[in-house]
Amino acid sequence: MSDRELDQQLVERVQRGEKRAFDLLVSKYQRRLGRLLSRFIKDSADIEDVTQEAFIKAYRALPSFRGESAFYTWLYRIGINTAKNFLSANGRRPVFKAGVEDEDGEVADLGDQMPDYHTPEADMMNRQIVETVNQAVNALPEELRTAITLREMDGLSYEEIAQVMDCPIGTVRSRIFRAREAIATQLRPLLDTAKDKRW
């Protein structure tokens, strides 16, 4: 089952009345959608509101989603339209910030165009997550670190990773799972604190 097929299966479930399947799509795409919207909207609270609104609009429009494009392409289109409506309703012009979602996970030079895109709290949280994940990855045994890196950063399939690492697919699966669990163990205390704060 490909990534697209997984999304399709989740979408089909929502279309059959399983609202909870939509939560899984939100969890998967919220940050990517938020980053996209940050190209148009500068205020972080507005980005959150528009992200929310875009998901609700997507949910309402799901009966007409026919799978001709990938779910995220369709979702992004809804996100962009929602952002445009938001900006015109508020009499604002979009700010185009092509370089915002920089590759290293750090906040790029934001410049004058976006003074409050990252609030200090969100900024710090972002940095803490990246640091915690990086430290946890670096602390992994080498075979786990290689497996999770090939998967998450290089996007290799289990078959490809098995070839690179010269081990059975079942081993790849197990290593990636163990890597994720090890990283998650380091990350959870931070997330629990964040949940309490609700930044």
Binding site: G17, F22, Q30, S64, G67, L191
Partner: protein, 160 residues
């Protein structure tokens, strides 16, 4: 179980296993937490910022007030032939009524409901309709030998 969720994210399950994993995922909060955290880890490793954004709770709460969407079960992508399934599409205007099209052999069948009219049931109270309530308590289709037990909140019981 969690390993299946990890494999599901990586498209490494066959259709049946993926189907089962998604069902488990929706039913089990621990698994859902793992799904959320694994997704965050992936985003963090790939870089790109915006990791602090979290609208899961807000969207979930707002969805509670949304009518359930129901759409045709369909192959993906949509086959050229007309759908035979019925569908409940929450967008077509058939004010205050639900249209139901049944038993057709060759044409598509569609249930339509106006989005604003689609509701969930709201029970009446004992004060509003004691007879209706009494009837519904006693008139289930289960065999007459069935013993019925209704659960009421402990605090309410204590109050009586």
């Amino acid at each position: 179980m969690k390993e299946n969720i990890s494999a599901l994210m990586d498209d490494a399950l066959d259709d049946a296993a993926a189907h089962a994993a998604i069902t488990d995922l929706q039913a089990d909060k621990t698994l859902k937490d793992s799904w959320d955290t694994y997704q965050l880890i992936g985003d963090a490793m790939r870089g790109g910022g915006g990791l602090a954004l979290d609208v899961r709770r807000e969207v979930s709460e707002r969805l509670r007030d949304e009518p359930t969407v129901l759409a045709p079960a369909r192959r993906w992508p949509l086959p050229a032939r007309k759908l035979r399934h019925y569908a409940l599409a929450a967008s077509l205007a058939c004010a205050a009524v639900v249209g139901w099209m049944g038993w057709q052999q060759d044409e598509s069948e569609m249930v339509v409901a106006k989005a604003s009219e689609a509701q969930v049931f709201s029970p009446v109270t004992a004060v509003e309709a004691p007879y209706l309530l009494a009837h519904q308590e006693m008139a289930g289709t289960i065999d007459s030998s069935q013993r019925r037990v209704a659960y009421v909140p402990a605090r309410d019981k204590a109050a009586h």
